[in-house]
Structures are given as structure tokens and as C-alpha cells.
């Protein structure tokens, strides 16, 4: 791609000091990866941050059994209002799952990825999981197949996974030290026995590491998920990140602990808190020196359907898919066309924002030192700012500085349902949203009402609806330039916003 250098005489200077996503190649944060890996993840919403704006995923809940107990998990299945791993509305047989995948693929053509992630452990249900994969690799060859596991049973099924063309595997690794693990896992089921305490954890860790090595040796792309549990494994996750990277994992996803008493989990009942946005970001940044970090995870349910952060599962219940007649050959052709259109749009966005990022790089040399700013973005997908502030259930958080815009994470507005009667506390939805945006100095959306506008400003957050339908990172860069030009970025962050951070 050809870059236009707007600021003359800075040919090499424009590239100097650029972080992960600055300078031309910008939207592609995985640009440094080898070509064959990029080809595998370019349309995988869970493995590529940029892809998640354009492509959808689905999970099928065929795997109810589990072989370990985690302190953040409770095996209940039926709350439709909760969005967290391990929760589903109905468990499917492999045949039902295949039918559902075909129905979703035909109706949501941007769905590129099918994952099996529970609600138990997929590999503790090898028959059901592998049967689903085997059928899908024959009937829907244009869908990528993924599996997510705790790793205990992984070594014994690695070769079967490879035989079914599973080339993305996620292993949840919360520790590499049994002394940390005993505070996370009370027991495992191993060779016909429940093994409690440190002994069980040591077996789990050994199996996870062995499985990781075996997958890497076979060329399978491995992502590692870790749950950040403050006071339990927070510091330790830096070591986990180093170890799994050294063994060949290509992406590390540190997710916040979800713990509420209502969930009935050990952590929830015992009052273990989850991390703040800032703690999560600090740890992700600390690991990022060694490892590619995933920051756009939505911690989906094991039966989620649609774009990340959205759940269209109710459109594809067993009853509804029963009535759908689908010609998959025809659907596949339609999907191919939709994917081609998406790729053309992505290419156009990349070209356009390449120009923006060369011009943002010029700020530093022409103005005084300007500080980095966090901005929140409301989007329904497509990589553009296209959502009304009041409709946003989540915000994407970006950090802009003088040379670069980088994606930081996602914040949900309604943090995980806490049950029917607990929703009506005194704090209004708007006040909650504003608290969720703590640390941000601007919010970009397509439109915003009069009342939230005033309250956001009072909280030190600048609302902005002037970049509607523009590519996100380009709009963030543009707003940063506007703030810089107005001289607002030469002073430290305003006290009102800083206090909230």
C-alpha cells in the first residue's frame, strides 16, 4: 500500500516512535505476524480485533459435561439474561447443532466462525464435540472451526482435532504454578477419580502445557485465555504470558473475573471482587511487551450467535430452525459475495486511515507535547461510528496519542445481569453508563440526546456526534487533532475526569 506523506521532510520521522497500530498499516494490528497466520485470522472475529468489526461468530452448546471445577463457574444453564461463559439456554445434540449452524450461516452470512466452548468442557464430551466438527467440516466447508478447552483432556484428543481441520484452539490457562492454582481450582476428575487440591491442579497444569506444545508442534493456532482474579493470579499472569508465548501460543486474552453472589460461584459468594477497567488494562499492557494481547473479548455465552457483543440466539431456537429450509450450496455462494464486499470495504478503510495516520504523526512536531486521551466509541459493527449513544450496550475504548490510535478494550454498559429484583437500585442507567466511561475524555457516537449530552459534559467527557459513519480509528484520530488544535491536550487531564478514572 502506498502511503501519502503529508508532512514534508519527515519521511523516516513519520514512522519513528510508532506503537502497535500507527503509521499507515494502521488498522492491521497483526501486521507483524507471518503471512500464513494472518491469512488464518483475517476474518476471525475472536482472533483479530479488526475482523470483529465485520465478521460474526457462533457457539453451539453441545458439550455440557465438565471434568474440572473452577471457582468462577457454576453449572447452571438456563438464564437467558446472563452473558457469561458456561451459561446456555438449551443443550443441543450434534445433529441439532449442525442444523443450527447451517441456518445461522445462511441467515447471517458474515458468520465465519463456529466454536464449541461448552457450557462444560468440549473435550470432556469428545464424542459430541468431534461428531459436530466432523459433520460440519463436510457440510459447511467455508466455516472455520474452533474449540475452547480447559486443557485437561487436550493431549489425548489433539490428533483427532487435527484430523477434523480444527486450526484454532483456545486453552484457558489461569496459572502455571500449583500454589496459585489451588486458589482457583478445587478439584479435577482424572482417571476415574476426583482429585482435590494441589495434586489435581498440578495434573491440570501439566496437561495444559503438554497440550499447548502438541498443538504448536502440529501447526495449530493457539490462543490462551486467562481470567484475571485480583489478589489471586494478577501478578502471576505476567509469568503465564511469558511461558505460553515461549511455547508458541500466538495470542493471550486476559479477561476480567465475573463474580456476583447471584451466580452462586465460590468467588461470587465469598466476595472475591473482579478487576477494575484500569487494573485489567494495566495488566494487559504489562503482558503486551512479550505477547500479542487480545482486548476485544466479550466473554460470550456458550450458545452466543452474531457479532461479538450481540446475541441473536433467540432467532435460532430449535423450534425456529426446524421450519427453515436451506440450500447450503446457494447459501455458500451468497456468503462468498458478502465476504468479498466486506473485504473491499475493509481495504478502502485501510487506505483511507493510512492517510489520516501520517497526518496525525505530524502533530507532535508542530505543536507542543500533547498527552494521550482515552475515547469511547459507540458502534454496531462495520468498523464505523454508527450507534446512537442511548442504544449502546457497550463502548469500545481507544487511546489516542500524538502518533497513534490503539484499541484498549471494551466496556459493557450493563455489566452482567444480577437477577430480576436487583436491577432497580437508585442509580439511573445514564449515571451507570457515565461511571462505566470513567477515564475517558470523549465519546464518539452517531447521535446523542440533550440530557446525556449535558451530564457527560458535567462529568468531563466530551460528547461528539460529528464523525458519524466515519471509520472508527480515523474518527478518533480526527477528534484527537481537534482537541489538540483547541489546545486542550497540553494541560494534564481535567480533575473531574481524572478523579473518575
Amino acid at each position: 500500500m502506498e502511503l501519502k506523506v503529508i508532512d514534508p521532510g519527515t519521511g523516516s520521522g513519520a514512522a519513528a516512535g510508532c506503537a502497535s497500530s500507527g503509521c499507515g498499516g494502521k488498522a492491521d494490528a497483526l501486521a507483524h505476524l507471518p503471512e500464513h497466520i494472518r491469512a488464518k485470522v483475517h476474518n476471525h472475529p475472536c482472533y483479530s480485533e479488526e475482523a470483529h468489526h465485520h465478521y460474526a461468530r457462533m457457539h453451539v452448546a453441545v458439550a455440557p459435561a465438565c471434568n474440572i471445577q473452577c471457582h468462577y463457574c457454576n453449572r447452571k444453564y438456563d438464564c437467558a439474561n446472563e452473558s457469561r461463559p458456561g451459561v446456555v439456554s438449551e443443550v443441543l445434540t450434534p445433529n441439532q447443532a449442525v442444523k443450527k449452524v447451517i441456518a445461522v450461516a445462511a441467515n447471517i452470512p458474515q458468520m465465519t466462525v463456529l466454536g464449541i466452548a461448552g457450557p462444560g468442557d468440549p473435550l470432556a464430551n469428545p464424542g459430541r464435540t468431534l461428531d459436530t466438527f466432523r459433520q460440519l467440516s463436510e457440510k459447511a466447508p467455508d466455516i472455520k472451526l474452533c474449540v475452547s478447552t480447559n486443557g485437561l483432556a487436550l493431549p489425548e484428543v489433539v490428533d483427532e482435532l487435527c484430523a477434523h481441520n480444527i486450526d484454532h484452539v483456545t486453552i484457558t490457562i489461569n496459572c502455571v504454578d500449583p500454589d496459585v492454582g489451588v486458589k482457583i481450582y478445587p478439584w479435577i476428575f482424572w482417571k476415574g477419580r476426583r482429585v482435590k487440591g494441589r495434586k489435581g491442579v498440578a495434573i491440570l497444569i501439566e496437561q495444559q502445557q503438554k497440550g499447548l506444545e502438541m498443538l504448536v508442534a502440529r501447526g495449530v493456532l493457539v490462543k490462551v485465555n486467562s481470567v484475571l482474579i485480583p489478589g489471586v493470579n494478577d501478578e502471576h499472569l505476567k509469568e503465564v504470558s511469558r511461558v505460553v508465548k515461549a511455547k508458541g501460543a500466538f495470542l493471550h486474552n486476559v479477561m476480567p473475573l465475573i463474580a456476583e453472589p447471584e451466580h452462586g460461584t465460590f468467588y461470587g459468594v465469598m466476595g472475591q471482587r473482579g478487576p477494575t477497567h484500569e487494573e485489567l488494562q494495566t495488566l494487559q499492557d504489562a503482558c503486551a511487551g512479550d505477547m500479542n494481547m487480545m482486548r476485544h473479548c466479550r466473554q460470550c455465552r456458550a450458545d452466543a450467535v452474531g457479532m461479538l457483543g450481540e446475541d441473536r440466539g433467540h432467532e435460532f431456537t430449535l423450534e425456529k430452525i426446524e421450519t427453515m429450509e436451506i440450500d447450503y450450496a446457494q447459501a455458500m455462494e451468497h456468503r462468498r459475495q458478502v465476504h468479498a464486499t466486506i473485504e473491499a470495504n475493509r481495504e478502502a478503510q485501510r487506505k483511507k486511515s493510512g492517510e489520516t495516520f501520517i497526518s496525525i504523526a505530524s502533530i507532535k512536531r508542530t505543536k507542543k507535547e500533547t498527552r494521550p486521551v482515552l475515547m469511547a466509541v459507540a458502534t454496531t459493527g462495520g468498523g464505523v461510528i454508527n450507534q446512537h449513544f442511548g442504544h449502546a450496550r457497550e463502548f469500545l475504548i481507544y487511546e489516542a496519542n500524538a502518533t497513534d490510535v490503539r484499541f484498549i478494550g471494551v466496556r459493557k454498559v450493563e455489566l452482567y445481569c444480577a437477577g430480576g429484583d436487583t436491577c432497580g437500585d437508585a442509580e439511573t442507567a445514564l449515571a451507570k453508563t457515565i461511571r462505566t466511561l470513567s477515564g475517558c475524555e470523549a465519546v464518539l457516537c452517531s447521535k446523542i440526546g440533550y440530557e446525556p449530552w449535558g451530564q457527560l459534559e458535567a462529568a468531563g467527557i466530551t460528547p461528539n456526534g460529528e464523525h458519524a459513519l466515519e471509520p472508527i480509528e480515523e474518527a478518533v484520530a480526527a477528534l484527537y487533532r481537534e482537541l489538540a488544535a483547541a489546545g486542550r491536550l497540553e494541560q494534564p487531564m481535567p480533575a473531574v475526569a481524572r478523579m473518575r478514572a
Binding site: 455440557p64 459435561a65 465438565c66 471434568n67 471445577q69 471457582h71 453449572r75 447452571k76 444453564y77 443443550v91 462444560g120 470432556a124 464430551n125 464424542g127 478445587p186 478439584w187 476428575f189 476415574g192 477419580r193 476426583r194 453472589p261 447471584e262 452462586g264 460461584t265 465460590f266 461470587g268 459468594v269 465469598m270 437477577g419 429484583d421 436487583t422
Partner: protein, 92 residues
Amino acid sequence: MAYQIVEGCVNCWACEPLCPSQAIVAAKPHFLIDAAKCTECEGDHVAPQCAGICPVEGVILDSLGVPLNPPGSLTGIPPARLAAAMAEIQAR
């Protein structure tokens, strides 16, 4: 001599493939053990398989009606603590 599955079972299937006697039935509203088939794993395993993998406390009982996984034994949550938390949620 037979175990039984009672209310509280979440139908997670974990026990079903492990039973050496094929005594577990995927019934509604919850799984059941066929008492005529259950051997309590005697002669096949040192530890009963269904109770060994079951993630829910108190839902598999021995022939005297005593839970094989009593409250607190699997989650590590002290029963009094769980009761207090549930009472607090109810009171909201």
C-alpha cells in the same frame, strides 16, 4: 444397593458415559439411576464414577439417602456462608 439421583441435578451428562453398568437414564426433569442396574461401581472402580464427576452437591444419594457429595464438599463454599448469601439476595 444402588445410588439415586434426586432433584437439583442439572442434566449435564457428565456421569452418563462413565457408568460401567449403563444405569444412568437421561430422564426429565432430571437424570435418574436405574436401581436394578446400579452396582455402586463395585468390581469396576475404586470410587463411584457418577458421584466422582458430578459437579452439583447433594444430588447423588447412597442407598441410605446420604449425599455422596455433601454441601460444601465440591465448591468449597461453607454451607452457612452460602445460606447467608442466598438469604441476602432473597431479601433485596
